[in-house]
Symmetry: C2
Subunit: 219 residues, 2 copies
DNA sequence: ATGTTCTTGTGATCTCCTTCACAAGCGAGA
DNA sequence: TCTCGCTTGTGAAGGAGATCACAAGAACAT
């Protein structure tokens, strides 16, 4: 059906879904492309174009059935199955993730957590027992882990990612501030707070400099 | 100098900087556009094009002076000053951020933390005393907070953002899974783990479905 | 000096995403 | 049944960012 869907489209689909879930919970029955657009920060045409890649889900003159579209999007994004997630590295970020209850609710099962520090092994966080790295391969295969979350220090990140993939993970979410290499076919996303903060700094700084220019700014 | 720099360019600049800092620490003196590209996941031409928006920093035939380019990028991104950051909402994510030592090192001072829960007021995390929301305005102005990190539940996020901006914040980093409205001129970025995970799910699912098709897949 | 080799900086091109604009379609009301 | 108002789905146009390709320049060896 869909040839090649761009990353930006996928990101927006996720936002639509997030919004639809909220609307569904509130029992709103119908939403227009404009309504969805406004509450997700895009345009009505964009919403319709995004959805059109996958089929036609609305009623002309009416809009979209909230619950129906929600289910469709969950289907499209591959969220009708549950996903087993493992957290690699239980430092500040790792612990926060283990305690984050919203995952389970959204179809993600935190199936395991690993750390290199012997002092942490055996501790329980958010109902998950921290395991030694030596058990990684076995656990990944036993519990069908398909998503690895890298939350180790920079130095260990690449090795952990490689090992996770070899152990069966088909997706990696990287919190370590390095570029990780994964084999083709393995999905990969990065999250880095510092990167986002720096982006904000640029925007603030650039905006300020623009304002400094003479108001009759030539060109 | 620079007219309008795209978000993707700014993101890449940040990645280049991240890499340059690592190289600088290792006392590598020179790096080529290709070297930078490979370690940040882009192409040599892209690196040169990105930098060319701001000036010409390299030596033909040689490459870029690592330390020099690092300083230039820090200048461009607005990182030569220190930035005061406040964390709004000290739950799982908020606490992790407070404990995250790398901020200070990178020019970000976590100047304050706020929470609505009376039980948390007065506690200290990572050397920061948690304050009641009533002190928000005064503290923002006293400490010159310019970046607000929203780490509250969804329901409180918009109100906190609005209040932070009114109190003087010129940038908002939002961890709550909602779209936030801020006045024009205020910088805004969003981080949502669930969104990234869903993106990964789509990629894995879509890749799988592509593989399911007959290998002689027509068109 | 001169030639060789390497890498930058950048106009031109290309590709992909977004925006536009409108026909098609649905429901309600007369 | 026909008309009117509204919103979708989509081909076409437009724009922005990525890629290409090459001249310009820097060092080094001869």
């Amino acid at each position: 059906m869909a040839r090649k869907i761009s990353d930006s489209t996928v990101r927006r689909l996720s936002r639509y879904l997030r919004r639809l879930r909220a609307l569904d919970r509130r029992d709103q029955e119908v939403v227009s492309s404009r309504g969805l657009a406004e509450s997700t920060g895009t345009t009505a045409a964009q919403v319709r174009k995004d959805l059109s890649h996958f089929g036609s889900f609305g009623k002309r003159g009416q809009g979209y059935d909230v619950h129906d579209l929600r289910v469709q999007l969950e289907e499209i994004l591959g969220l009708t199955r549950r996903w087993s997630v493992a957290v690699l590295g239980v430092g500040k970020i790792g612990s926060a993730l283990l305690g984050y209850g919203l995952f389970r609710q959204r179809g993600f099962d935190v199936a395991a957590a690993f750390d290199a520090d012997p002092a942490k092994i055996g501790l329980e966080l958010g109902g998950i027992r921290i395991q030694p790295l030596s058990e990684l391969e076995q656990t990944f295969s036993d519990r069908g882990v398909s998503i690895a979350i890298i939350a180790t220090p920079v130095e260990a990140a690449q090795e952990m990612a490689t090992r996770a993939v070899r152990a069966g993970a088909s997706a990696v979410l990287n919190f370590a501030p390095v570029k990780l290499d994964v084999p083709p076919g393995v999905a990969m996303r990065e999250m880095d707070v510092t990167l986002e903060l720096e982006g904000l700094c640029y925007m603030v700084t650039a905006a300020g400099q623009a304002a400094d220019r003479p108001p009759d700014g030539n060109e």
